[in-house]
């Protein structure tokens, strides 16, 4: 006898205008399992889950919960059907307490006090059962991201959800927090809960799921047992062609120092010291990766190096001191000194989304003679130049007149990358190169970075993706609380040691040995 599926979707289709987000999707999720759904950005994973949670209505298709056909017109119905969802961007009220967030929408009566008391008891019980400890009286805005996520899980469990959907849950977590989350999920599975895990990280799929479904361009391309597959096969199913998961590179040949930073300090607008004496050297022909949980000063370091932030200490570029506070402390002067910058926040600092691709591909370099002479710009030449760059960097669609916002994440990043790399900088600052970028484009971007290194350029990479840091860097510096905790060679370290350094442990090796 076959078991009844906890969730069965039959022939779900959903179109947004001309875009077919989901095409005839059928999937069975068995109870008491962790079912992974993997796919590139825009493959339709989130749309599918939104339909299941009543955010969108499917154009066609049926939803069956525990063997019963169920209509889910809104979130209320999804909750009633026992579905809980942990969104990628948390749906929490920042200045409410944990308790208030948990009971919101699930209050027992018109007055709050009885509900709050009841929730306090339930939360205590859940905390013990599933390692979901959170201070129930704490305000959300005072909690770490990991704890906020626990509140989201608690919200779902408080509503007695049997089916939990998590959308990219580890994107914002440290490795230790992610491990803790996986322990929680394992505990929930043991209690018979059904979990759907949406992710683009192959490692997580392999680590925790029982079954995995792969989505590509709105279609479900395969559903396989995790034990019977491997990352290479999944990547191929996601992208539709063979993908190199490892970065292919020869050992670095570091030459003379290009960037020398010493005792760099930066105090932000709120008077908080964000950089507390950074010492760092990047040589020609090497990639130095900065690992760290976001918010530990990496962004400020990139800003100061890129010229948008005053600082004290010293930065030398090719042996010459840079101006850190005066009128040559700006992005233009830095670019003139041979520093290219691919900012972390592509949408706000890298591009102007409403401007066209060709306009975006000259920003920062619009003073140069190639854009025209005097007051006038040579638009025709600029468009041609942009077209050539887009061809070389395989930007799709290759239309210079299209607004930047109409490109996918990966193609936007390629536009920025092309702009910076094609100027042949001595040093390239690159922040979160593959955030929100598809796996196929990641491969291409990584190749470009390695090629630039092999051409004898210095590269400083900041990323919150530890996998990316490990595979791309020739040397890794770990940042915590505005300081460099230590430098490691990728061959001589592992995720555990880096994870501890990222959490501020000064000497993880010694700690491990007691």
């Amino acid at each position: 006898m076959t078991e009844t599926a906890a969730i069965e979707l039959k022939g779900i289709s959903k179109a947004f205008g001309p875009v077919q987000a989901n095409k005839d999707i059928s999937i069975k999720v068995m109870p008491g399992t962790i079912h992974g759904i993997i796919g590139e950005n825009g493959a339709g994973k989130s749309t599918l889950m939104s339909i299941l949670y009543g955010f969108y209505k499917a154009d066609r298709g049926e939803i069956w919960i525990n063997g019963k056909k169920t209509e889910i017109p809104d979130s209320q119905a999804a909750i009633a059907a026992g579905i809980g969802m942990v969104f990628q961007h948390f749906k929490l009220v920042q200045n409410f307490s944990v308790l208030e967030n948990v009971i919101l929408g699930a209050e027992d009566g018109a007055l709050l006090r009885p509900s709050l008391n009841k929730a306090r008891g339930v939360l205590k019980h859940l905390a013990e059962e599933y390692e979901l400890q959170v201070d129930p009286e704490a305000l959300i805005e005072d909690l770490s991201v990991g704890h906020q996520q626990r509140v989201e899980i608690l919200k779902a469990l408080y509503r007695e959800a049997d089916i939990l959907i998590l959308d990219e849950p580890t994107g914002v977590l440290t490795p230790a927090e992610a491990d803790h989350l996986f322990r929680i999920l394992n505990g929930l599975r043991e209690e018979g809960k059904t979990i759907i895990l949406i992710t683009h990280k192959l490692r997580e799929i392999m680590e925790i799921t029982d079954t995995v479904s792969v989505m590509r361009r709105g279609e479900m391309t395969a559903t396989v047992k995790t034990a019977e597959t491997n990352p290479e096969q999944l990547a191929e199913l996601m992208v539709g062609r063979k993908v190199l998961l490892q970065v292919d590179k020869v050992p670095a040949k570091p030459a003379e120092p290009v960037l020398e930073v010493s005792n760099l300090r930066h105090i932000d607008e709120d008077g908080v010291e964000r950089l507390k004496g950074i010492d760092l050297t990047v040589r020609a022909g090497e990639i130095v990766g900065i690992a760290g949980v976001s918010g530990n000063g990496q962004s400020e370091l990139m800003h100061v190096l890129g010229g948008y932030g005053h600082a004290t200490g010293s930065i030398k570029m090719n042996g010459q001191e840079l101006d850190l506070t005066g009128k040559h402390s700006d992005g233009r002067s830095r670019r003139d000194r041979g520093i290219g910058h691919v900012p972390e926040d592509r949408h706000h600092e890298g591009l102007i989304l409403n401007f066209s691709a060709w306009e975006n591909s000259v920003f920062g370099y619009h003073h140069g003679p190639e854009t025209g002479s005097g007051m006038l710009m040579d638009i025709k030449a600029m468009k041609q130049e942009a077209q050539a760059k887009m061809d070389r960097f395989d930007v799709r669609p290759p239309h210079p007149w299209l607004a930047a916002k109409n490109f996918s994440g990966g193609n936007q990043q390629k536009i920025v990358l092309a702009r910076e790399i094609e100027r042949n900088p001595d040093l390239l600052l690159i922040g979160q190169p593959t955030r929100g970028v598809d796996i196929g484009a990641i491969e291409f971007i990584h190749q470009q970075i390695v090629q630039l290194r092999d051409a004898g350029k210095a590269i400083l990479l900041v990323s919150v993706e530890l996998d990316e840091i490990m595979s791309l860097s020739d040397r890794i510096a770990v940042m915590f609380d505005g300081q460099i905790m230590g430098e490691r060679l990728p061959s001589e370290t592992d995720q555990t040691e880096l994870g501890l350094l990222m959490a501020g442990v000064t000497n993880p090796k010694e700690l491990a040995h007691g």
Partner: protein, 321 residues
């Protein structure tokens, strides 16, 4: 200055604070739910007209009050429709409603009563009567407390007492009830409310409706209690002062009471002391009359500190993920 003068000024402060307080609490409900309402002024004005017109015509001040609330609710409904249902700009909708009320009241008043855009004076007995609290006369001769109770606390209209009772009630609703929790949540994070299975639109309309009722009472107080009928633009910027008080109060009910009493006091002082002589220099009456407004600007600019409005304030809710 003797006690009698002080009590006179304070008594007048309470009378002048009442409409501000009602409007301020009205704005509090709306803005806590994420709907900015610059149209408090217009709602008060149209209610002032409707309540005066109906009180005069029917001879029943309670019918006047209901008409005022109804007229104010009609504007609330338009504001809700524009800014919640059709996701329009809340400021523009509010400003438009102010213009609408300003023109409409005078137009209808002129057509109806033919007295130059005003209503006839409502006779004393058809207005809200001042209520004498128990023992007010008996206690009058007790030193200090007597005059405070008999002349300051006693002797206001029912609407004024309603206004001041609204403060603890608002606090209780906001912080002790399910409706209040949801209302505050929808002004901070409507997506959290939506994913919790609660209707964002329903909550916001409820808040805007509450705002309409309170503005209606405020307008009725102006025309049938504080004064005896409607005159053109009789709200005189009180809706905007109430908004200023709301920011000053950081969107909290008890602070709103303090802020409104302060602004009411400033207006009372300006009315009472019209020509103050400082040596040879006489402070012109215009300056005294402008004082509450000048102080509003100064207080808002300098003394409020960081007032953090509800995070989702002013933004229509669009479902997305």
């Amino acid at each position: 200055m003797d006690l009698a003068v002080i009590i006179q000024v304070l008594d007048s402060s309470i009378r002048l604070s009442t409409p501000l307080l009602l409007a301020c609490l009205a704005g509090l409900f709306s803005e806590r739910a994420g709907i900015f309402d610059i149209g408090l002024e217009g709602k008060m004005l149209i209610s002032a007209f409707a309540s005066a017109a109906f009180a005069f015509t029917t001879g029943n001040v309670w019918i006047g009050l209901m008409a005022g609330i109804g007229a104010s609710l009609a504007l609330s409904a338009i504001h809700g429709l524009a800014s919640i249902t059709f996701r329009g700009n809340q400021l523009i909708s509010g400003v438009a409603l102010n213009f609408l009320a300003s023109g409409l009241t005078v137009l209808i008043a002129q057509n109806w009563f033919k007295q130059g855009g005003r209503t006839p004076t409502i006779p004393e007995e058809q207005r809200f009567q001042d209520i004498t609290l128990p023992f007010a006369d008996a206690l009058r001769d007790v030193p200090v407390f007597g005059p405070i109770y008999s002349d300051l606390i006693s002797g206001h209209s029912a609407l004024a007492y309603i206004a001041f009772l609204m403060v603890p009630l608002t606090w209780w609703v906001l912080f002790r009830t399910r409706f209040g929790l949801r209302l505050r949540a929808v002004g901070e994070a409507p997506d959290a409310v939506d994913t919790a299975g609660v209707s964002v639109i329903g909550l916001r309309f409820a808040a805007v409706g509450t705002c309409g009722v309170l503005c209606g009472i405020a307008g009725a107080y102006l025309a049938t209690s504080l004064q005896a009928g409607f005159v053109k633009e009789m709200t005189a910027g009180r809706g905007y002062i109430a908004l200023a008080a709301l920011i000053f109060a950081k969107w909290r009910p008890w602070y709103a009471l303090m802020a409104c009493l302060l602004f009411g006091f400033l207006q009372a002082v300006a009315l009472r002391f019209q020509n103050i002589r400082l040596g040879d220099f006489v402070i012109p009456v215009q300056l005294m009359e402008a004082l509450p407004y000048i102080l509003t600007v100064v207080i808002l600019a300098g003394f409020v500190g960081k007032a953090i409005p509800p995070r989702a304030g002013g933004e229509p809710y669009v479902k997305e993920r």
